[in-house]
Amino acid sequence: MNIRITKYYYGDIPEDKAGGNGSAHTVAAKPTDWPLWEVFIRSKQGLDHKHVGSLHAADAQMAIENARDVYTRRMEGVSIWVVESKYIHASNPEEADSLYEPANDKVYRHPTFYELPDELKHM
């Protein structure tokens, strides 16, 4: 089977998929515009960083400082990751069916697949 994974930038909607005249409301960003950053916050030690949103900043340091002001005003985090949005690649939702298809028929990957006697303990 031939699976082709098309990569799109986060939030970058291809024009032919935009549901009509997608280009009409986009404007070219000027060189002085600050780039967009995605923000990930670890809410407490021991947990994963989780995507919380995005913001604009001139560089990574400013992105972290802005993220602190915007996303952790009430002690929501102990660690912040920022990454410029253009570096995030994502799978294409329209190809989700074929992309995840290989996992569809492998029920034996789940523990409940195996029928064992009820008397058997600690398993």
């Binding site: 935009a18 549901g19 409301h25 915007v70 005003r73 939702p93």
Partner: protein
């Protein structure tokens, strides 16, 4: 896939309460409606800082000043969550802000009313944020994922806004006769504009029907307004003031409060730009944008310089 098939998939997701995400196909009109609605919502948060900002230097105590600062900072954050959600739909931040400054995009008309006394800050928290919360709680279940997630975050923070506002009024209502008079005066002035925040009657609302079908909105303007009136008519009893509506009366048969008709002429007048502070608000936004220009440019120049220096060090 044909447009018709794509649209069917989209509607099917809406039916099954599956959120629409930025890269999913969506009808152009759905995208446009969201861009309009979310950016207006963002502008409202940002312009909403102005009437309150007026009182930061005039707050009666250091405690109240710190609280008000925190609240206004929250509003800036809410604006940012919503601008970010708008950007996921394919518009740039700058375009969105240009639309506000040119007058093309609207913001909530409530912020075109002036804040004359300290009691107004209380009334804004209680009534204006109270009305906004009802709308925002509904929007936590809206069909567009990034909008719904922004709303969840905003709702968590709004509750403090409403409570601090009510507390301001509660404290004043136990104060001197002059302070009690200020509370009544503020409630008199903010009550009707707060009711207008829910928008025109369902029968007149141009955007409501399609938005309900697409589950962008999940309750009608009139339903939300009734809910608000029922809530406030009870809460006002704690403040020893009255709401300025002689027709306000509990209706046992309906199990709701009846209330008088809104002055729709005033509503449309303010929407069209003729409110007491429309010009002042937009001028303040434009001024802030223009005077902040050098800061934005300087930060970019600094970032570029630092990046170049790091490159040199690596080489």
């Amino acid at each position: 896939m044909s447009i018709r098939e794509l649209e069917q998939i989209f509607l099917d997701k809406i039916d099954r309460e599956i959120k629409i995400e930025p890269k999913d196909w969506m009808p152009d009109q759905y995208r446009k409606t969201l861009i309009r609605q979310i950016s207006q919502h963002a502008h409202s948060e940002v312009v909403g800082m102005l009437p309150e900002g007026n009182w930061i230097t005039r707050a009666p105590t250091l405690k109240r000043k710190a609280i008000l600062l925190a609240k206004v900072q929250d509003e800036a954050g809410h604006g940012l969550y919503l601008y970010s959600a708008t950007e996921t739909l394919g518009v740039t931040r700058e375009q969105t802000i240009n639309d506000l400054h040119s007058g093309k995009a609207k913001y909530s008309s409530i912020f075109n009313y002036p804040t004359l006394t300290w009691a107004d800050i209380g009334a804004i928290g209680w009534l204006v944020d109270g009305a906004a919360i009802l709308n925002q709680v509904m929007l936590c279940r809206t069909s567009y994922g990034p909008y719904a997630r922004a709303m969840v975050r905003i709702c968590k923070e709004e509750s403090f806004h409403q409570r601090q506002g009510f507390e301001i009024l509660l404290v004043m209502s136990k104060g001197s006769p002059e302070q009690r008079a200020m509370v009544q005066d503020a409630v008199n002035r903010w009550w009707w504009p707060s009711l207008m925040m829910f928008g025109p009657h369902d029968s007149e609302s141009t955007h409501s029907e399609q938005s309900t079908k697409w589950k962008i909105k999940r309750m009608s303007n009139d339903e939300l307004r009734q809910k608000f009136v029922d809530m406030i008519a009870e809460q006002v009893k704690f403040l020893n003031v009255t709401l300025p509506d002689p027709k306000l009366k509990w209706n046992e048969a309906r199990k709701h409060y009846d209330f008088g008709e809104i002055d729709w002429e005033e509503f449309w007048n303010v929407v069209k730009g003729n409110g007491p502070c429309n010009k002042q608000r937009l001028d303040a936004r434009r001024k802030a944008w223009e005077e902040g220009k050098w800061v934005r440019e300087a930060a970019t120049a600094y970032a570029n310089k630092r990046a170049a220096r790091m490159k040199q060090q690596v080489a």
